[in-house]
């Protein structure tokens, strides 16, 4: 009987170790540049993150192939080669094996994507080991280049890491809530959530040492039920509650927290929350501080490229792009910009050109200035939510922007050292 139980448990666990959904591979030829696009096609992150990311990849890749993007990307293809994409599901328990398959069997020239910091931590060393040009599009943990791959050659990240989000959030809170006395947090219990809370709370401590931390909650990712955590935060009655929740977890927390008055009792700071605006609308309480992980979504700049992307995306899918759409688009534009600079579709030429490159994206100018030119540094904006009942749409008000140099550590300094050291070298206008 005991053996049967253990066999059943093993079988159950093995069965729960998921599979990944692969799109059919396409044979490459000399005139193609094959990109592996990794994004959540299933699971809790697919709706708010993965699908908008995949949609953005489709829009941008088709436009690059057709040569219909505005300047500076108005030439067709990547170094003259047409792009083929192989889309795979990030929601897999065998992420490394899936990545290896992209490299070895699908023979992609570059891999872009990945939203989860957990995924990126697993893939980062593999990219270097397999010598595969890889551009992380979304994942935020600073650990990637500060601890895991400290001398990158093949790996890039085309957006800022979580330090930008949380230093920016802390600066916004202190700028708008000068009487701040206590803070609390609810963040997912893995790299992204832990790093986000560390950067936010330590920034607050560095900038205003009198502020006390009262409640730190770290529920499991995809838990869905946050009754106890919300009670603890309600009980703590802190001035500000910070959360880096994203996707379905974010939506569930807003529904449960707003319904119980958490958003009235404390000022909520949601660093990755623009994705919830089109879904929850009036359910997000007015005054909530909204982040979009850079100049994305409601904070996108008014440029020809940004306006084209927003319109092309809307025309294709009938909804406005959200931050993961901009971030995925940015990773492909990074490849395009580097290929144009190198005037080649050779992956080695592209990665050489991408290191240290400054390029245009739908979210403004991106500078690959950190971690030997492999890590982007961009600015960020925060604002407060306001729902317009007459139009049925939400928007952001009281927007403040922070330059890249104000919210990212300088070259050669880790995020933790920079924050604890009092932001040496920060350039805040």
């Amino acid at each position: 009987m005991k053996t049967k139980y253990s066999l059943m448990a093993s079988a159950a666990l093995s069965a729960l170790v998921g599979t990944s959904a692969f799109a059919p591979a396409v044979q490459a030829d000399d005139a193609t540049f094959k990109i592996g696009v990794v994004t959540f096609l299933s699971g809790g992150a697919s709706g708010p993150f993965g699908i908008p990311g995949r949609n953005a990849a489709e829009v941008v890749i088709e436009a690059i192939n057709a040569g219909t993007m505005p300047a500076p990307y108005d030439t067709a293809g990547i170094g003259g080669a047409m792009i083929e994409q192989v889309v795979i599901d990030e929601n897999s328990k065998q992420k490394v094996a899936d990545y290896q398959k992209l490299v070895d069997k699908d023979e992609v020239d570059a891999v872009v994507g990945y939203a989860s910091s957990g995924s990126c931590k697993a893939i980062a060393p593999e990219a270097e080991k397999l010598k595969q040009l890889t551009v992380f599009a979304i994942c935020g943990t600073p650990q990637i280049f500060e601890e895991i791959v400290t001398e990158p050659e093949y790996l890039f990240r085309s957006m800022s890491h979580a330090t930008m989000d949380n230093v920016g959030a802390a600066r916004y809170v202190l700028d708008t809530t000068p009487e701040l006395k206590t803070i609390g947090g609810i963040n997912q219990n893995y790299a992204w959530g832990q790093d986000s809370w560390r950067d936010f709370s330590e920034t607050i401590a560095a900038l205003k040492s009198s502020v006390e931390v009262d409640s730190e909650q770290f529920p499991k990712i995809f838990a869905g039920q946050y009754g106890s955590e919300i009670s603890a935060l309600l009980s703590a009655k802190v001035d500000v509650v910070h959360s880096s929740f994203w996707g379905g977890d974010l939506e569930a927390m807003i529904i449960q927290g707003a319904g119980r008055g958490l958003f009235d009792r404390s000022q909520m700071v949601l660093t990755s929350s623009d994705t919830a605006i089109p879904r929850l609308g009036a359910q997000i309480p007015n005054g909530t501080i909204i982040g979009a992980r850079g100049f994305n979504g409601p904070y996108a700049p008014d440029t020809e490229l940004a306006n084209w992307f927003e319109q092309a995306y809307f025309d294709r899918f009938g909804v406005a792009p959200v931050s993961p759409s901009y971030q995925m688009a940015q990773s492909i534009m990074a490849l395009k910009a580097a290929a144009d600079k190198a005037q080649s579709s050779d992956p080695d030429a592209i990665r050489a050109a991408l290191a240290g490159l400054t390029f245009e994206s739908a979210s403004g100018e991106v500078s690959m200035s950190l971690s030997d030119g492999h890590q982007a540094a961009t600015g960020i904006a925060y604002g407060t939510y306001e729902f317009d009942a007459s139009t049925g749409k939400g928007s952001v008000k009281n927007v403040r922007s922070y330059a890249a140099g104000c919210v990212n550590p300088p070259v050669g300094v880790t995020s933790g050292e920079w924050i604890k050291g009092g932001f040496d070298g920060a350039t805040c206008e």
Binding site: M1, G47, S228, A252
Partner: protein, 298 residues
């Protein structure tokens, strides 16, 4: 004092949700000896049906108070149709096979149900919060709780009581207990074991769907929610003893309170607490607190 009360209410609230989400799993195991991984699929079907129906109803101008009726209705329809299809279409051909094989069979069904939900409702999230906040909140020691949370507790109690009464006080229930004890002897005595299997599986599926349907107004209904719940449900029924309704209730209470205690007193242990409790219980009672007695056959 406030913390103690908060732990109690939060623990009960989480336990009620856990019990509703896992009781169908233990019922099916108790009667059919099938560890039904597809239970997560029924949960997801219930959640999607409920969220979709509530959204459609409320957005069409329906009064929110009537949307409460859609929750049991969605669970009944989704659970009954899916349960019947799965049992009649697949499982009845597999009865008598090894329990480990049945785990894999139900896992395959779970994957099919996951894809079915995506085919029907897509990959976008569904939110249907209206019922959850219709009756507002109640302040308990200065901490607001939604009335809906107490409704879930009441429903969990009602489901537990109904199952207890049906199993112990009705003729059908007593016959079912005979089937649980020995299906071969039951058949020899003229009990229609196949019918009991079908009905039990469909009831288990409806209960699974009810867990999802009643959760839907509080969460964002997304692909993947079924996989999350099956792991937690498994922990609950293992603690309580697989196949025991009372065990599922006790298991849900233990897990609910363990989680609430850790969140309020030592948040870093939240993730760990559920499995620590499970390990501790299994160390003392390897087959769970209320494991069904196994008759020895010669």
């Amino acid at each position: 004092m406030q913390t103690a009360v908060a732990i109690s209410v939060d623990g009960l609230g989480f336990a009620a949700w856990l019990f509703l989400s896992s009781v169908g799993l233990t019922l099916i195991y108790g009667v059919m000896r099938i560890l039904n991984i597809a239970h997560g699929g029924f949960y997801a079907l219930g959640a999607y049906s409920s969220a979709w129906a509530i959204g459609l109803f409320v957005n069409s101008g329906g009064a929110v108070v009537y949307s409460f009726l859609l929750i049991p209705l969605a669970a009944l329809l989704a659970g009954a149709i899916a349960g019947l299809l799965v049992e009649r279409g697949i499982l009845r051909y597999m009865y008598g096979r090894d329990e480990v094989l049945m785990v894999l069979v139900t896992y395959a069904i779970f994957l099919i149900l996951e894809d079915a939900t995506k085919l029907i409702w897509g990959t976008e999230s569904y939110v249907a919060w209206q019922p959850a906040f219709h009756f507002g909140t109640i302040n308990v020691m200065d901490i607001p709780y939604t009335v809906y949370k107490f409704i879930i507790m009441a429903v969990a109690l009602a489901v537990g009581a109904a199952l207890f009464l049906v199993l112990n006080k009705t003729r059908v229930g007593k016959l079912l207990l005979v089937v649980i004890e020995d299906r071969e002897i039951s058949g020899a005595l003229g009990i229609n074991v196949t019918l009991f299997f079908t009905v039990t599986f469909v009831v288990g599926a409806i209960l699974g769907a009810l867990g999802g349907a009643i959760s839907a107004p509080e969460i964002s209904v997304l692909p993947g929610i079924g996989a999350e719940i099956i792991v937690l449900s498994f922990a609950v029924i293992v603690i309580g003893g697989m196949g025991s309704i009372g065990g599922a209730m006790l298991g849900a209470l233990i897990v609910g309170f363990a989680r609430a205690l850790s969140v309020h007193l030592y948040p870093p242990a939240e993730l760990f607490s559920i499995y620590l409790v499970m390990a501790a219980v299994l160390a003392v009672k390897p087959y769970g607190l209320f494991a069904l007695a196994e008759s020895r056959k010669i």
